[in-house]
């Protein structure tokens, strides 16, 4: 499941909902991305996105993860709008019988989301606003997934 929303989310509630009434899951991995203040350089952040394409792209990435690993459940929640340092940005949850699949799928989801989901961060700091530049290592991290997992 994927969700794009302005409101905050609650990692405990999301994991509880995903687990509820199930006893076939053995491993749940979560990734939580939060706003860093970068030693005071960031007072606030605005996350712009492309409504419609964002949901389509996240759904494609999630479908790809489910095709590659035996997941029992998965969730991607990404916020947009105004955020402050410490605020939650993104949550990825993967559930599987065994830990390797859950770990790998969660990392895959984050790697792909970082390079494909149409979000743009604008940081507002003491010296004005600036659009965050994409990092070359985010593209490079995709090479990890060039070969299908064992």
């Amino acid at each position: 499941m994927i969700r794009v929303q302005q409101e905050d989310f609650d990692i405990g509630a999301e994991v509880a909902r995903l687990k509820a009434g199930r006893s076939d899951i053995g491993a749940i991995v979560t990734f939580l991305g939060t706003v860093r203040d970068q030693d005071g350089a960031v007072a606030a952040m605005t996350l712009e996105h492309y409504p419609g394409m964002t949901e389509a792209e996240l759904a494609r990435v999630e479908a790809e993860a489910c095709a590659r690993w035996p997941l029992q459940a998965s969730l991607v929640v990404h916020r947009h709008g105004s955020l402050k340092p410490g605020d939650n940005i993104v949550l990825v949850v993967t559930a599987s019988e065994h830990r390797d699949a859950a770990f790998e799928a969660a990392r895959f989801l984050m790697d792909y989301l970082k390079t494909r989901a149409p979000f743009w961060k604008r940081e507002d700091g003491p010296s004005g606003a600036r659009w965050v530049e994409a990092e070359a290592r985010d593209d490079a991290s995709l090479t990890r997934w060039d070969k299908p997992p064992a």
Binding site: M53, H78, L113, K114, A117, P118, F119, K121, A134
Partner: protein, 83 residues
């Protein structure tokens, strides 16, 4: 077709969305960018470094050599920085 601009492409172009009908000679995303650049200094500035601009046709990432025929919505934006 509908054109959308995001992040600093939007800020530089000074517009978020518009409906346009480029000439029939404009066949690819790259040609559309060239045509947009000729519309005025804001667009020339927004697309000055055309190689860093990303494009999507109907919600799917495409390369600059993609053909635009039949597209309902084309979006231009910088490399994404979510997550």
């Amino acid at each position: 077709m509908r054109l959308l601009y995001f992040a600093w492409v939007k800020e530089k172009a000074g517009i978020a969305a518009e409906d346009i009908e480029p000439p029939a000679s404009v066949a690819t995303v790259a040609e559309l960018i060239d045509w947009l650049k000729g519309r005025g200094p804001e667009f020339a500035n927004a697309f000055a470094r055309a190689e860093v601009i990303r494009a999507a046709i109907d919600h799917t990432h495409v390369r600059h050599d993609a053909r635009i025929k039949g597209a309902r919505e084309i979006a231009f934006f910088p490399p994404v920085t979510g997550g």
